[in-house]
Symmetry: C2
Subunit: 442 residues, 2 copies
Amino acid sequence: MNTADLGLPVAVPSTALFTDQYELTMLQAALRSGTADRRSVFEVFTRRLPEGRRYGVVGGTGRVLDAVENFRFDETILGFLRERGILDEPTLEWLADYRFRGDIWGYPEGEVYFPGSPVMRVEGTFAEAVLLETVILSILNHDSAVAAAASRMSVAAGDRPLMEMGARRTHELAAVAASRAAYVGGFHTTSDLAAGFRYNIPTVGTSAHAFTLLHDTERDAFTTQVDTLGSGTTLLVDTFDVTEAVRTAVEVAGPGLGAVRIDSGDLLLIAHRVRQQLDELGARRTRIVVTSDLDEYAIASLAAAPVDAYGVGTQLVTGSGHPTCSMVYKLVARADSEEPGAPLRPVAKKSMGAKTSIGGRKWAARRVDAEGVAEAEVIGTGPVPAELADRQLLVPLVSAGKVVAREPLDAARDRHIAARATLPLSATQLSRGEPVLPTEYV
Amino acid sequence: MNTADLGLPVAVPSTALFTDQYELTMLQAALRSGTADRRSVFEVFTRRLPEGRRYGVVGGTGRVLDAVENFRFDETILGFLRERGILDEPTLEWLADYRFRGDIWGYPEGEVYFPGSPVMRVEGTFAEAVLLETVILSILNHDSAVAAAASRMSVAAGDRPLMEMGARRTHELAAVAASRAAYVGGFHTTSDLAAGFRYNIPTVGTSAHAFTLLHDTERDAFTTQVDTLGSGTTLLVDTFDVTEAVRTAVEVAGPGLGAVRIDSGDLLLIAHRVRQQLDELGARRTRIVVTSDLDEYAIASLAAAPVDAYGVGTQLVTGSGHPTCSMVYKLVARADSEEPGAPLRPVAKKSMGAKTSIGGRKWAARRVDAEGVAEAEVIGTGPVPAELADRQLLVPLVSAGKVVAREPLDAARDRHIAARATLPLSATQLSRGEPVLPTEYV
């Protein structure tokens, strides 16, 4: 097991405790009743997109694979469960040998999804599959929320680079996963060193107001920064007076100054003024970086401003108003007995209201029109219609317990950009609306 | 170093990479300019509470202490920084010896705060203190957001127990910190085994719809669960028909059934019906647990319903609409030279708009009226007025690099409940309003 593969900047021996207690007590009861080995199919899906959103983005698939591979119960964990009296000895013995030996299919990372899309399907015995519920949902709900926000921001930014700078606004390890998801959604770089270390995402940095305030004058601060990091550095120009700072910056660094950063005030107005001033000073190639509570709307509002790059923090790592995706993990089919080869029977909660789901092991395909533009998310439980056979969305991720779908993060990022490009044009409107594709059940 | 002390269920060698790149490049520049050793004071504060909130809750202080203690640059980390060309050799050598040797003061965990409250103050050389910015903010911004939501929910729930069940809705390690923060804010238990393992929070669990669906009949499922976990267990009664399920549950478990859980539908209506049915079946002491997208408002709306406990997930771990706290880490004072004993000079960003801050090393005290009810958050940079001397809020957390304020999590939880009780009554209104205490600067 590769202990570096957990989305952490450090080695972690197991993901098995990232689990709600009831997964384990259900296991114990199922072992007792002789149902634990019934072949079962669980599916991950959402009943709806966040309000107003037109598409979702699958984020975290690669992290799920790492988590499944490292879901093991070592002596420390078993000792904890024993000492707390949570489980009986036969269950603890069963867990000591646990590894997932089933199959996982899913939408590949970066793919878009819609209400009802079976973004992941876990097949195995009830016992082996039920245990993975909590950690799979944690990863997909978090990472997909950030990926979706990142995607909207990347639409708004067009060709301009996006820097992820949200580490300080979220849990220190959620931040690492958020950098990764942002990259999948279209961001280019991150300020988070742990994300650079773990996922090889390019890292960037400018400087803070504290650095200017540390020095006796702004000029001292700029001089030090340029002497140390070169004239290609980014100088922060809004500690005192922006016009004065820009003048000083170009005097100190020369017209080859890499960039200036603006972190407060009316960014639209200030960017125009700073551009004009830089041009007048001969620093025509000095770029303007803006950072200040940006979200996709603020980014879009700066489309016509002379801005060269955006640094985004809070709104990115908190999903721009939707920090989680309401994905659920539901048993949709199971065998009637523990006999190998017993046929699968569709099952579903039947009780009140909005939480009803559709039983049966599902396929999904995206139907396109004659121009290749997506027109529907088609989901079914029977045979796949011939015309959709090569439009299927689920791919094998784990086969007989072995991860079969590792890929570089860039593959997910490229896939996302390609998938988004096949959606109807209204997909990339930032305004609130319905999902851009209807979900059809056949 | 205690590698178990990182808010993780597993050992982690260092927190040093949970850091924005610019902290390190600013360090490098400051080392070059001879300003790195200037004595500096950084303060953590927020400019405002989330919209409509009446008080904030300090969460994560204990985790900050762990993070500071484990902020070290080992060979792996230094190798990464060297290979990426982020830092020069003198800076890497400086980092190899790094440990924080300064002082940290702060509001103790669980204390309430208001706009401008200096919830943490970090004093040391610029170099040693600037590096901690990102990880301190990550922890405080995340944990305080959850603690504040938890506090509001605990007000709404009154004496009824609150169970934290949000692991699946947030990053798997953020979930562990969220359980901890929820406990500080007044929750009683968690479903997250990692939180039980790491923080000794009592863990609980019920069962899922999948468990019922796995069995041939609901009766089979209930029988198995009761046989395995005892009649004190909690049976989930809304997979098919609630009335039928409650009847079956009491038949199977007897009138000593511990609890039933309702996870969908009109909880108010159903709770009344289920209570009546349980009473008629003689199960007068069987409790009713509700779980279904609860937030503080939904909890409050069930105050008159026969509900015995609440399980809360999504809205808790996402801060009930406010997943982060907008805390910032600002240089407020620094020496003019590296000479030991050089006097501190207040500094502050002076540029445009809302991001201006107030320079100077601050004290804070909470003034109370004759009845002991808090009436103002008083913050100053000069001498502390005599009448406020014993009302000061900042306590020593780290002295000369040594953690001096470790405490059991229950101490923070008790402190929160006590602090909240001293606020004016309107603090615990759930409706939107202004901060319940004004912030006064003297």
